[in-house]
């Protein structure tokens, strides 16, 4: 088989997105916040639409900022409902994200007819069009696929965030109050993590869609956790899963002539089920991981 540049670009981009989501997902899972990641990725929708409306384009910085703000608002609402209004965590999440998601859908229907926002694209993404969506500079130079650049930037920021805040993220995930006593800003670390999740969701939504981002946040870490109880191997395995899911997802989609993002998630789901069947019985944690999905 000769080198297929389009296949390479799509797999590279898919891998980068899957790894970014997986790395953040590991810490969301350890904080028992896998569902909050779900909520954020839905709740950013109104932010995307508002940002889009302000910028007049799907590509503006306003879109990312809008989504980031909405992601943080969603986290704050969930937290407030749980702590102050004493609503249970799962109910708080359910209320928050369905409400914000619904607002997003209404906004799309209100505004989308006079702007070029593709609802299908926001929800499901289409990584297959990546090679023809090129980044062209003002002077006309073609730099390559725009979404690949976004994915590289996103991956760099996520990897840097986790590298530089590794000990704070780990400590506050395990024992938040112990961290607070030592003067580690637990709340700030938490908000930073939520912001990274929001940003990653927006950055990835054009490629794999807002809904499928959720699967990449939740499933690879949960699968890896079935195989190892050590943090570093857990992170490495999540990364390898991200790459494997992209490669398999691409070629299976090619084979069955279906959506690449959809196939990536299917592969992730099948890998999880297989792992659960093999390891599930011997592992206590499998129950919690599955309950988080």
């Amino acid at each position: 088989m000769s080198f297929d540049q389009n296949a390479f670009l799509i797999i590279l981009t898919g891998s980068l997105i899957a790894i970014s989501c997986g790395l953040l997902g590991v810490f969301m899972m350890l904080r028992k916040m896998a569902m909050t990641g779900d909520a954020i990725s839905h709740a950013v929708l109104p932010g995307i639409v508002i940002g889009f409306f302000v910028a007049g384009s799907q590509r503006g910085l306003e879109v990312i900022i809008g989504a980031g703000i909405l992601g943080i608002i969603a986290t704050l609402i969930i937290d407030w409902l749980r702590k102050k209004a004493r609503v249970q965590l799962d109910a708080s999440i359910g209320i928050t994200f369905t409400l914000l998601f619904a607002i997003g859908i209404i906004l799309i229907n209100l505004f989308a007819y006079n702007v070029d926002l593709d609802q299908e694209c926001v929800l499901y993404g289409e990584i297959a069009y990546l090679p023809i969506d090129l980044w062209v500079t003002g002077s006309g130079t073609i730099l390559g696929p725009r979404i690949t650049y976004l994915a590289v930037l996103n991956f760099t920021l996520v990897a840097g965030f986790i590298y530089f805040f590794f000990k704070e993220l780990t400590l506050t995930s395990f024992d938040e109050s112990f961290g607070s006593v030592m003067g580690i800003p637990s709340k700030g670390i938490n908000l930073a993590l939520m912001s990274m999740v929001s940003y990653t969701t927006v950055s990835s939504f054009e490629a794999v869609g807002a809904i499928l981002v959720v699967a990449l946040l939740v499933v690879p870490p949960a699968t890896a956790f079935l195989w190892t109880k050590n943090l570093m191997p857990l992170i490495k395995l999540t990364t390898i899963l991200g790459i494997g899911i992209s490669i398999l997802g691409y070629y299976l989609a090619y084979l069955f002539d279906s959506s690449i993002a959809g196939m990536m998630v299917t592969v992730a789901g099948v890998l999880f089920l297989l792992s659960a069947l093999i390891k599930g019985r011997s592992s206590k944690s499998a129950g919690t991981s599955m309950a988080n999905i």
Partner: protein, 262 residues
């Protein structure tokens, strides 16, 4: 009976703590001396954990204030160490014994710095002190309750603080280990550290502590053990639990004739 300490390490002034508007600690007002092993006694739900959390700023008092080393809390955080109740974390977390104990060094390390050789040595020494050297690489999910408790104590030791606050560190720990750890705490107190321990067993409390705080939503007593542990004050702390109280009177009587402390 509240006996004040001279040049106290900890000063709590007229503090009230509430959850959802309903106070669980009322007008707590006491001072603690340095270099002593201090016990907090009280029945379940007396507010012992809440008191410790309020000292460390994990819950905010609705009234009054706390001063540690004669300063506001924020200025002396690095000198305070905490052993939370074991159930407060999920032990399925992917970490080894060494990983968890190393966390004790993170506070002094500061942002962006990674734990290195020095931090590892501190952690290993702390594990040695609680007799857990053989378990360094063990997954924390594979430890017994008593071993988990010792890991938490080692993590606090790795912090190298001056004031230690421990919430039921002996829950689920066997008697031999309890005695060994109490010896360790005693040694720390002799070195000038102040160790405050929430404890559930009045018998061993009488043996080990120098100073006692008795609590039941209100502060019942605070002072040197010999002065504040009386039948009357124990009755006030624990209410009318007869079975317990008959044992307690026996204990107090024994103490009169044949003091338990060595």
């Amino acid at each position: 009976m509240i006996i004040q300490a001279e040049s106290p390490v900890l000063e709590i002034h007229d503090m009230t703590v509430s959850y959802d508007q309903s106070p669980v600690l009322w007008n707590i007002d006491f001072t603690l001396p340095s270099g002593q092993l201090i016990g907090i006694l009280g029945p379940n739900g007396a507010g012992k954990s809440t008191l410790i959390k309020a000292i460390m700023g994990l819950v905010n008092p609705t009234g009054g204030y706390v001063k540690v080393f004669d300063k506001p809390l924020e200025e002396v955080r690095s000198r305070i160490s905490y052993v939370p109740q074991r159930e407060s974390v999920d032990w399925n977390f992917p970490a080894s014994v060494l990983d968890v104990v190393m966390m004790g060094t993170y506070g002094k390390l500061g942002l962006f710095k990674r734990p290195g050789k020095r931090e590892k040595e501190v952690a290993l020494a702390s594990l040695d002190q609680v007799g857990m050297s053989a378990f360094i690489n063990r997954q924390i999910s594979e430890l017994s309750g008593g071993q988990q408790q010792r890991v938490f104590i080692a993590r606090a030791l790795a912090q190298d603080a001056d004031l230690y606050l421990m919430d039921e560190p002996f829950a689920g720990v066997d008697i031999a280990t309890e005695a060994a750890i109490f010896e360790l705490l005693k040694k720390m107190a002799l070195e000038g550290k102040t160790v405050v321990v929430v404890h559930h067993d009045i018998y061993s409390a009488m043996t080990y502590f120098d100073w006692m705080i008795m609590l039941n939503l209100h502060l019942v007593a605070s002072g040197p053990k010999n002065q504040v542990v009386t039948e009357e004050l124990l009755r006030k702390t624990y209410g009318g639990k007869l079975n317990l109280l008959s044992k307690v009177s026996e204990l107090v009587r024994k103490q009169d004739f044949n003091p338990l402390e060595h």
